[in-house]
């Protein structure tokens, strides 16, 4: 294991990049990040326009950073100080573009074969056949990208990159436009692929679902800067900034006033909005009377039809259901506890608890489900 780990780390991607993009607008966009991606899947998470694709373009060598350094293992791919600038084709990086960029004049099969020029015929055929099947595009092998559907194009692009043996893999929203079943299948494939190769994979997505299914680590980018990084749970569950909180799906964002600090317990009490609701949240740099903002994920709130007893959870709020709406596989309940809460529950639970509008309910909130927003 040790040996493997060392080998793994020696192929990590370490980059620090500065790149200014100047459009026609007066304000220009500046990407300025330092990051490290060990082998395994690292998710790049961030709002639209945060700079994720720009970062990948820099890593792939398609855009030249203004300054910085990019290293994979021992290999320096880019170093503005030493004036090193490897061409994209020398970087051994596979990259699935957001815009796919399939070759329009080549068939699906030829597209996929394209990156395998160096491999003997026999081998190549086998590998292509295998991946064609894995991505369920074997029936389309002789069709051109103009003659297949959007999702089929997406899969072809993914297959085209994965079939090569890269040292780093960059995936820019590779699963958009695929249905749930395919998504699940491809996620499984990707995981297996990752387990087999253990190379750094940078994976851009907006989808919490994909983050949770794939991410070993997350790097959150906002407006061209890395605003946090770590394991998905830590990073995305404990939002540092309000913008991110919204991005990551914290449905409840509440203004509150600090009532008292209980430092020994590592908690403090706050009052929500103008209501009388008081809850316990993790301690933060704040003084009594300060106004703070708490973010609570709708799925982290438990709902009960009787006042729960003997629970470890400290925050129990009494309220009344205002509305119940279906949201995907979930139900979204709006509960008025003085302040309005959004709670996600399973339809099964709704039925079991016979929930309906105007019904009295209790909300259960664990202290550590309440995140303070900077």
């Amino acid at each position: 294991m040790d040996a493997v780990d060392r080998e793994v780390n020696s192929s990590a991607l370490v980059a620090s990049i500065r790149k200014e993009r100047r459009g026609a607008s007066s304000s220009s966009f500046v990407l300025d990040v330092s990051l490290e991606a060990a082998s395994g899947i690292t998710i790049l998470f961030g709002a639209s326009g945060a700079g994720k694709s720009t970062l990948l373009d820099c890593l792939g060598g398609l855009v030249h950073p203004d300054a910085g350094k990019i290293v994979v293992g021992e290999n320096v791919l880019f170093d503005s100080a030493a004036n090193i600038q490897l061409l994209p084709q020398k970087r051994c990086i596979a990259y699935v573009f957001q815009s796919l960029a399939l070759f329009p004049h080549l068939t699906v099969e030829e597209n996929i074969e394209y990156g395998l020029a160096a491999i003997p015929e026999q081998d190549r055929r086998a590998r292509v056949a295998e991946i064609l099947e894995a991505f369920r595009v074997d029936k389309l092998r002789n069709q051109k990208p103009g003659e297949i559907s959007g999702g089929e194009r997406q899969r072809t692009a993914l297959a085209r990159s994965l079939v090569t043996a890269p040292r780093v893999l960059l995936l820019d929203e590779p699963l958009t436009g695929l249905d749930a079943e395919l998504k699940a299948a491809i996620v499984e494939d990707l995981r297996a692929w990752n387990a087999a190769r253990r190379i750094p994979i940078l994976y851009v997505t907006h989808s919490r679902e994909e983050v949770d299914a794939l991410g070993e680590r997350v790097i959150v980018i906002d407006n061209g800067r890395v605003v946090s990084h770590g394991v998905p749970m830590d990073v995305l569950d404990a939002p540092r900034r309000k913008r991110l909180a919204q991005t990551a799906g914290f449905e409840n964002l509440l203004i509150a006033t600090v009532l008292d600090l209980r430092e020994p317990d590592g908690v403090m009490r706050i009052r929500l909005g103008e209501s009388t609701c008081e809850i316990e949240v993790p301690l933060a740099h704040a003084r009594v009377g300060d106004r703070v903002e708490v973010a609570i994920r709708a799925g982290d709130i438990l709902l009960a039809t009787e006042r729960p007893r003997g629970l470890s959870a400290r925050n129990i709020l009494e309220g009344r259901i205002v509305s119940l709406e279906r949201r995907g596989a979930m139900m979204k309940a709006q509960v008025d506890c003085g302040v309005m809460f959004i709670v996600h529950i399973t339809p099964g639970a709704v039925r079991a608890l016979e929930l309906s509008a105007a019904k009295q309910v209790w909300l259960v909130l664990k202290t550590h489900s309440c995140h303070l927003v900077e």
Binding site: L62, P88, F103, H105, Y114, A117, P145, S161
Partner: protein, 222 residues
Amino acid sequence: MNSLWLSFELAGCVAAILLVIGMPVAYWLAYSSWRGKFLLESIVALPLVLPPTVLGFYALVAMGPRGPLGKLWATFFGHGLAFTFSGLVLASVVYSFPFAVQPLMVSFEAVDRKLLDASAVLGAGRWRTFRRIILPLSLPGVVTALVLSFAHTLGEFGVVLMVGGNLAGVTRTVSIDIYDRVQSLEYGEANHLALILLAIAFAVLCLVYAVNRRVWTPWTAK
């Protein structure tokens, strides 16, 4: 009839050579990021601006025994360049250069840069990218370059007359032949020859275009 064959041979040679030397030039013009490349683009178009006979005259002087090209050629091959088939080819190549380079350049430039990025990221070097992506996607431009340089050489006469000297079987192309007959007021024969030339040229062009259509329409069509 001899002159007809000679013309097609010349036009074929010139078109082939122009394709080969036009491509690197067009590639460079299309992809270089040098700010002054419009200067080169302009220079490429310049041979067009001079009357062909005058260009031919300059070519003649350059290729003559006292001209720099002629001298160079003579040291290698022991004979002059003017009044030979090679000389004709050379002069026609210079004269038709813009017709090859311009369409190639425009076509190369029109290839989506994202595809070139994709090719690079898939490990393909410049040459492979050119051969597998740029060239097939520029096929219409290549065909145009071929057709224009081929047809233009077929019809060329000023340069050819000057450099070639109208020697039967060696440098008397069909265009000069027709010209001669028109000059001698032998209209019947001139018409006859012109018609044959047009018919063959038409057949060749049809072939090129028909193949071209079939080959590259699929991925533009809906």
